[in-house]
């Protein structure tokens, strides 16, 4: 039973972290969609946040020990650059949303996979071959719950509650949501539609950067090492499914992300899976187990897509003349 206890703590640790990541990134997708932008570049934005976090965590580690909050703040600040580029492509130049998102995905992923090697070896003076913020190796070994994780959870909860309040209970939120449904009506009232779109992009950039930073802090769950491989293990795409499954409503999105986080981590835990599937040749079944949340999300999409109502001006560029 002691083995089980250790497993349960690690499961709770990792699931809370994954919950934070998924909820933040799916909220970012929610904010983009509510303004009429189809954002498939969540993965790219998260990778960027993770990259910046890793760099600054390694740079600042000899200066101070618990510097993860500072590095997260810096990741958030640098994400403004990427969201500026993305918004420029979509709002100013009016590219196709999917094309611009895949462009950002590819470029950021390429940059990240390229930069981990040289930067990692340079910053760690040859110790590591890749970027390594060196935080998460403790989570999966020890048996206790970490206080840091609950601090992160508290911060994320405050952020989510604040955003929910902003969007549901204030006038700003009402106008914000209206931009995705009928931007011409909003324009007729005299409000600046592009301003709200830029705000949506900025918020999305901030949230995904935070999510990426939390991922490289401890959310990757790669057996003992906290290397940065240049990817976010496809979590950005999972968030897209959660947004649709949550029917573009924040409480449903949070509930869906909780369910997903728990299930993903349950089935990734090797000891649990090996207890269920006892045969050693079927070791690869853990990959099927890892596919289970994706299967769930596709079923959820299949069930809920008919009933959930997307914002009406989703994917359509704003044209002032078409009133």
């Amino acid at each position: 039973m002691l083995g089980w206890a250790a497993d349960w703590s690690s499961i709770i640790n990792s699931s809370i972290l994954l919950l934070c990541i998924l909820s933040l990134s799916s909220l970012a997708g929610y904010f983009c969609n509510k303004v009429g932008i189809v954002n498939i570049a969540l993965e790219g934005q998260m990778i960027f946040g993770a990259l910046i976090f890793c760099i600054f965590a390694q740079v600042l580690q000899p200066v101070a020990n618990d510097t993860y909050i500072l590095s997260m703040l810096l990741a958030v600040i640098f994400s403004v650059l990427l969201s500026w580029l993305f918004g420029f492509l979509i709002i100013k130049i009016k590219c196709d949303h999917t094309i611009a998102s895949t462009a950002i995905n590819l470029s950021v992923a390429g940059l990240a996979t390229f930069l981990t090697g040289p930067l990692g070896s340079a910053l760690s003076h040859g110790n590591f071959s890749k970027l390594n913020p060196n935080y998460s190796f403790e989570f999966h070994i020890s048996g206790s719950l970490f206080a840091d994780i609950f601090i992160i959870l508290a911060i994320v909860a405050v952020i989510i509650f604040g955003l929910w309040f902003l969007v549901e209970k204030t006038r700003f939120g009402l106008r914000f949501k209206a931009v995705g449904d009928n931007p011409n009506a909003v324009d007729a009232q005299g409000l600046n539609v592009n301003k709200y779109k830029w705000i949506g992009m900025l918020i999305a950039g901030v949230l995904t950067a935070l999510a990426g930073a939390i991922f490289s802090y401890g959310g990757s769950n790669v057996g003992g090492s906290s290397e940065f491989n240049g990817n976010v293990a496809g979590l950005g795409f999972l968030a897209l499914g959660i947004v649709v499954a949550g029917a573009w409503k924040i409480p449903f999105i949070i509930v869906a992300s909780i369910i997903f986080a728990i299930l993903v981590r349950l089935f990734e835990n090797e000891k649990l899976v090996s207890k269920i599937f006892n045969d050693s040749t079927l070791n690869g079944l853990k990959y099927v187990a890892r596919a289970f949340p994706f299967i769930l999300s596709s079923i959820a999409l299949a069930i809920f897509s008919r009933k959930s109502v997307a914002p009406q001006a989703l994917g359509i560029h704003f044209d002032k003349t078409s009133r």
Binding site: L89, T102, A103, L240, G284, L285, Y287, F294, L301
Partner: protein, 690 residues
């Protein structure tokens, strides 16, 4: 004709606002690739590598060291881009190419190993065709899952495709690691599956694997071109991509078309799997430590978008990117550098969509002058654009029969041919002009006026909707179609111009008009601030000269009319007095006071530049001191000899005026004609006329 054609082509390239021509897209692709290489070279310098060396290696290593791998990579990228671009024509963003490819590969592995174990032997080519067939089936089935989800359950295709990618990847990993691992003892070090049996692979069997791959690519390119351009099915696909609702109203079965495009792109990604997994190394890569969706699908998306979904462009772009990919393994830096390059190329291609809509030199103008120049520049471009389209229609009217035949026989560009099918030849135009002028005309009347092969031309015109054949008052008549109003304008244009050189000169004149207008409008906004006085003077001078030309012609024509009127009077009435009266009235404008002003202005000829800003002196000097006209020779006047003193007086007056450049050659001739009629006996008396 060629001069005009070239001039129009050049101006459309430079000044057309929202046209997506092939030259522009090629230009933009080259710019994107060049920019991305430069940026990646800069990144290389940031890490201490020599940029010129990297570029050299990028472009040369593939040919020298590994041409097999280069051809293989080209085939891989091209097929992935085909799979993506074919779906993109119907408006589908097929991001699930990687999953379809991987699933097809895994099922191929399973089935072929089973068949090999059972001992069946396939003849040489049949095995490969069998493999291709299975892969196409499986790829199509996987793609159809996303298709059905999108059609009937309204799930976003992109999201479902991505999730399906991951599901297939993980299931495939399971299958490979359980039964087909290349390292069954050490589970954690599996990197690939077992080999696909050689009777089903493209590699092995005497020839290198990349030859059939390249052949497949070329065949598929031809097939896709033929489908999209020459078949009804391809036309339907293009129509659903461009206007979904309109094609639905036209009766196309949009659901079926979309599902079939999904299936076809899935089949293409199945072929990609065959090429990727059997043409060089005959196993499926599956590294346990890093579970990542294979990137060939996304590179295919990048290539397809850069090349604007054109099969020929795809082949060319995939050659460049295949070059980068194979050469990057020989760079001194890490081999992940090619991902950076492809990422930046993609980003560059997305950004260079800007150049279709925006022109970067507007920013330069904004910097140089203020932002107020945007409006006059946009007016300038709009007017040029409309002018170019107008002259294009005129160009179409002036085609000879031979040129129309040539265009009709163009084999490649069917779109052009369909456009020019509606062009009328000169003879057809004549018929149409006659009917238009007469408004309604019977056959017999028309035959009287126009004789040559009339029946054929009428048939052509009726078929293409230019004229109608109506019955009115028990009479059958031909009438120009109300809805072919455009062609009224063309007929009007054709009445104005007789030669092509006239069109070209008229076009150039109008272009200069617009340019002058732009210059003046921009200067009105900006003259206070930043324009040098020299430039301003030049532009004002050009404008004044143009105005002067206009005024001059009007002036001359007015005077000519007056002279002709007075000629009639002279014929009828008392000639001598009337002539004197006429001459005096003509010279009223050059009376003494006025004459002095002219002298003054003539003296100021050299220094008019300094006073150009004040309009009065400029207009005066220019009006009465024409610039650019040839000097009139005085010798011709002295040929005229007479015995009459009055005539000599008149002659002297005329010479005076000519020497002071008040009268011009045309006026002199008119006046001489006057003199001749005035004294008809001159010629009989022996006076010479020159």
């Amino acid at each position: 004709m060629n001069k005009f054609k070239w001039r129009l082509a050049r101006d459309t390239f430079l000044y057309s606002r929202k046209r997506k021509t092939t030259t522009k897209s090629i230009f933009i692709v080259i710019i994107a690739i060049a920019l991305s290489t430069i940026v990646s070279a800069l990144i290389a310098t940031a890490f201490g590598y020599n940029p010129f060396e990297t570029i050299k290696v990028l472009f040369s290593a593939a040919f020298e060291i590994e041409p097999d791998k280069f051809a293989y990579m080209v085939a891989v990228f091209a097929l992935a881009a085909f799979a993506f671009s074919f779906a993109f024509k119907a408006g589908i963003f097929n991001i699930g190419i990687s999953g379809q490819m991987y699933g097809a590969g895994v099922t191929l592995l399973v089935i072929t190993t089973a068949i090999d174990k059972a001992g069946a032997n396939f003849p040489p080519f049949i095995g490969q065709l069998f493999a291709i067939f299975i892969a196409m089936l499986v790829g199509a089935c996987i793609a159809l899952i996303t298709g059905f989800l999108e059609q009937y359950l309204k799930v976003n295709a992109v999201v479902s495709a991505i999730i399906l990618n991951w599901i297939i990847l993980l299931i495939g990993f399971f299958v490979i690691s359980a039964w087909y691992s290349n390292n069954p003892d050490n589970y954690a070090q599996m990197t690939a599956s077992t080999n696909i049996p050689s009777q089903f692979t493209l590699a092995g069997g005497g020839i290198a694997g990349w030859i059939p791959a390249v052949i497949i690519v070329v065949l598929i390119a031809i097939i896709l071109l033929v489908i999209s351009k020459y078949t009804v099915f391809g036309h339907k696909i293009n129509a659903t991509g461009l206007a979904k609702e309109a094609s639905r109203y036209a009766g196309y079965n949009v659901n079926l078309i979309k599902l079939s495009t999904f299936a076809i792109s899935g089949a293409l990604s199945g072929i990609l799997a065959v090429v990727l997994y059997t043409a060089r190394t005959t196993n499926i890569p599956a590294t346990i430590l890093n579970v990542v969706v294979p990137t060939e699908g996304f590179s295919g998306i990048a290539v397809g978008l850069i090349a604007n979904n054109n099969p020929i462009g795809i082949i060319l772009v995939s050659i460049v990117i295949g070059l980068y990919k194979t050469s990057s393994s020989f760079l001194s830096m890490s081999p992940t550098f090619n991902d950076v390059i492809i990422g930046f190329v993609m980003l560059g291609a997305a950004i260079t969509v800007v150049f279709y809509q925006y022109k970067p030199w507007i920013f330069i103008l904004k910097l140089k002058y203020s932002s107020e120049i945007v409006k006059p520049y946009n007016d300038f471009e709009n007017k040029l654009d409309s002018l170019i389209s107008k002259y294009k229609s005129i160009y179409m009217v002036f085609l000879n029969d031979q040129e129309v035949d040539k265009m009709y026989k163009l084999p490649i560009n069917r779109r052009l041919r369909m456009q020019y099918k509606k062009v009328l030849t000169y003879s057809q135009r004549k018929v149409l002009a006659i009917i238009y002028l007469k408004q309604q005309i019977s056959y017999m009347e028309l035959k009287d006026l126009y004789d040559d092969n009339l029946d054929v031309k009428l048939q052509y015109l009726i078929e293409h909707g230019f004229i109608q054949f109506i019955k009115r008052n028990n009479q059958y008549l031909y009438q120009v179609n109300k809805y072919s109003l455009n062609y009224e304008k063309i007929i009007d244009y054709s009445r104005q111009y007789n030669f092509v050189e006239d069109i070209l000169s008229a076009y150039i004149k109008e272009v200069n008009l617009i340019k002058n207008e732009y210059a003046i409008n921009s200067i009105k906004e900006l003259m206070q601030l930043k324009l040098s006085p020299k430039k301003y003077i030049d532009i004002v001078k050009n404008n004044i000269i143009w105005n002067y030309d206009n005024d001059l012609t009007k002036y001359i024509s007015k005077q000519k009319a007056k002279i002709e009127r007075n000629l009639e009077i002279i014929h009828k009435g008392n000639i001598e007095n009337k002539f004197d009266h006429f001459l005096n009235s003509f010279l009223e404008k050059s009376n003494e006071n006025h004459y002095n002003k002219i002298k003054h202005a003539i003296k100021q000829n050299d220094s008019w530049k300094q006073n150009a800003i004040t309009k009065k002196t400029a207009s005066l000097s220019v009006k009465y001191n024409p610039i650019g006209l040839n000097e009139i020779s005085v010798d011709n006047i002295n040929c005229y000899q007479s015995n009459d003193a009055n005539l000599d007086k008149i002659n002297q007056k005329i010479t005076k005026l000519i020497n002071h450049k008040v009268l011009f050659d045309n006026d002199r001739q008119m006046l001489l004609k006057l003199l001749v009629t005035y004294n008809q006996n001159l010629y009989l008396k022996g006076g010479k006329l020159c």
